[in-house]
Symmetry: C2
Subunit: 187 residues, 2 copies
């Protein structure tokens, strides 16, 4: 039952896609290798032909999921434009397709060196990207605005998902957005 080279590449992408969604929805430890392979349309035995271990998959999944944002030519995005998406109910309610930091942040602290390194570089890119349009007279001020604003978004979405009261959850998102808007306006 040998498979064509194209099919192999497709299968590999399917596994990475399935892992990217499932990990963000249920955490690295909340999803089994067998479940990921099944979602990708394969059996668990095929897993080790593609990846050295579950940890290896985690690292490669992070790289895979963050690729669009880490590209050198990634589009510059304004903080408030980003906030409109990031602090939306849609993003909160669909972690599987959302930001990896607000869905896996506290677990990733204890992940492999490779995973943490990928995430670190992504943090750097995100800050550099936001810094280009952030308010402030100096580069330092703009970077501070970029870091502070993004940290607030990540924290707010994480808390909004945690809370068991929809009203409070909505308020966390809306209040953070309002506060960001005011902070941006003032230079």
């Amino acid at each position: 039952m040998k498979i064509s080279k194209e099919q192999v590449a497709e299968n590999r992408q399917a596994v990475l896609d399935a892992a990217a969604t499932l990990f963000r929805e249920r955490g690295f430890e909340g999803v089994t290798v067998a479940e990921i392979m099944k979602t990708a349309g394969l059996t668990h035995g095929a897993f080790y032909g593609h990846f050295a271990s579950k940890d290896d998959l985690i690292a490669q999944t992070c790289t895979h999921a963050l690729a669009p944002f880490s590209a050198e030519d990634a589009p510059v995005v304004g903080i408030m434009d980003f906030a409109d998406y990031y602090l939306s109910a849609g993003h909160r309610d669909d972690p599987g397709q959302g930001c990896i930091f607000s869905s896996l942040g506290t677990e990733a602290v204890r992940s492999s060196d490779a995973t943490r390194h990928t995430l670190t570089e992504s943090v750097r890119h995100r800050i550099e990207n936001f810094s280009q349009t952030a308010p402030g007279k100096t580069a330092t001020e703009r970077r501070q605005a970029a870091v502070g604003s993004w940290a607030a978004m990540v924290g707010a979405v994480m808390l909004s998902r945690l809370v068991d009261d929809k009203e409070l959850s909505d308020q966390l998102l809306a209040d953070t957005r309002a506060w960001l808007e005011k902070s941006q306006a003032k230079k």
Copy 2:
């Protein structure tokens, strides 16, 4: 080998203390029941005399660890005073004694109803507390400042622990603090 009532109460507290530290350091799933009991000076078999399950322990540990902040007479604390502690290297480097949201936030999303409810009430209290001294003309503005500022702190500490570059980690904390200070100052 029956034990005195005082000793039973002490043992229970020791288990909760051990769990509170270990969970924050290594995550709910990264610590075993046996390890917690050993840290508390007991054997794993005694666990089920105190708690119905590991999930029950998690819920009670959250209540235990958050008790000081959830009390009705908890002291009102200024946002920047709190930020001085929260965004310090000391807090970042000692998650075992630190804020539960920045160490367990993304895992807690998938925890039991009881755990999430305890955390929700704690979020509410924290916001109410900060709102009392937050800047703003109206109650709404003050609440927005409280929510946005706290979200930024939680996000910043989580990211600062995640990153594998000490310089970037320090910068995340310092930039967030600087940005918070500026945002507080303006009204």
